[in-house]
Symmetry: C2
Amino acid sequence: MSNIYDMIRIDGKALSNTIKEEIAEEVKRISGDQKRPPHLAAVLVGEDPASAVYVRNKVKSCEKIGFESTLIKKREATSEEELLEIVKELNEDEDIDGFIVQLPLPKHINEDRVTLAIDPRKDVDGFHPTNFGKMAQGLPAFLPATPFGIMTMLDRYDIDVQGKNCVVLGRSNIVGTPISILLSRKAKPGNATVTLCHSRTKNLVDYTKKADVIVIALGIPNYLKADMVKEGVVIIDVGINRIEAPERKSGYKLVGDADFDDISPKCSYITPVPGGVGPMTVTSLLTNTLQAYKNNFNIK
Amino acid sequence: MSNIYDMIRIDGKALSNTIKEEIAEEVKRISGDQKRPPHLAAVLVGEDPASAVYVRNKVKSCEKIGFESTLIKKREATSEEELLEIVKELNEDEDIDGFIVQLPLPKHINEDRVTLAIDPRKDVDGFHPTNFGKMAQGLPAFLPATPFGIMTMLDRYDIDVQGKNCVVLGRSNIVGTPISILLSRKAKPGNATVTLCHSRTKNLVDYTKKADVIVIALGIPNYLKADMVKEGVVIIDVGINRIEAPERKSGYKLVGDADFDDISPKCSYITPVPGGVGPMTVTSLLTNTLQAYKNNFNIK
């Protein structure tokens, strides 16, 4: 790379593996003797192939680091009542530290109602409003996976955001809104001056051009270009978009919301897609589950 | 006023009275017959004179609009356990729709623990993390009083913030952080592009000078001056600062965080202090209590 910033490509995959190893060692240290290891349960309703892959990855990661796991697969036609009954059982099951209900759910099930039924102490996805509110108020909470993964990356790569101009593109409940809150909290990493941009923002480029750090989560392939940012910017790309690629055997490839080839020479740090933010989300889930386990057994 | 914007002074006191009248009429309409009226309880611990005034105002406002009210006054030496017991009783009391525990509490009591003990369905102050999280996720929730009051003012004065550059100064849990979330939500009023600034923000004036709307909640008397903002700005001033005023009988006067005399000629709208945001906070509490009552009796 011939630029003055020595662009650093943030390796989410390697970092995720490092953290998994750290968790595996901690599990060995704090469990054993008469205590059981941490235990994560995952509920998968229906046949969505992407969801099946995600859940399988989560379960596999559990095995690798010495967690127990339970995968509950239910048919597409499962009723909301049946699912709420499963949630209730998992809430009450003392052998399970945390659990997730994989989203999206079939259309006949109200996702909000299911999320609200999860005991916040077992909500290792950090989707329950109680965890969201605690996060926003600076209280201990399970953080949602993607924002937690981003904060961990910033921390481990020693990217100082304090007092920096951070622009978040996209205001979803699971990425944009929570990461904007986390970046501006009085914490480390944190203390950034954050602007939350979205579909109604006028003159978006006025914001992106001044940003020291951009978190982009719009779901628009290759949206962010070099001429929209300043030299030395940090780009955290949350987008995972599948686009046609006739030259590949599969016929498609994954790209982010930032146009990597165009923009990366201008960056001080950038996350690639794939291999950036993506691998960190499972790590967040495992970290939350370990924390739920510690809370359960009163381990500091 | 000799400026092109026809500066409008937002009259929070008058608006608050209007809304109280509306609530009083609605109470008359929906209660009556065998149903009791809405019932708010307030818990006051200790002898803080400002807190005593606030609570008395809240109780008086209840009387005026036909609510029942209960004021529970406890001595300074009340233990956390005693207070938690009171909270538990209020949670379980079917004759009370909502209640507040006036902050600040004596130092030997953990405020977070008390707030968390309040049933979110009765948390008409909107301080419980569950309500905070629901607010952030766009779910129905009791909004915290000051941000709710500000949103109501914007709505009633028809100040369109959609797509506007809004700058919030101060990131407290009760004002700055929640108002930044509300302004950026997909709602009306809302859809603004919001930047949350705070003590660690560098080059603050770069942000304030571009802002279409500024919400200031810093607690620094007369901080914001005309040369820090652009022509036509909307100023929502949350500060209530007591400064010395030897010319007055009382020896002091209340001023906001914005220097009203200096800045108001440049504004399209501005809230005065006192008489701006302040009176709206009690209105928010009453609106929340009415909503709790409706939830309680299943009134749409």
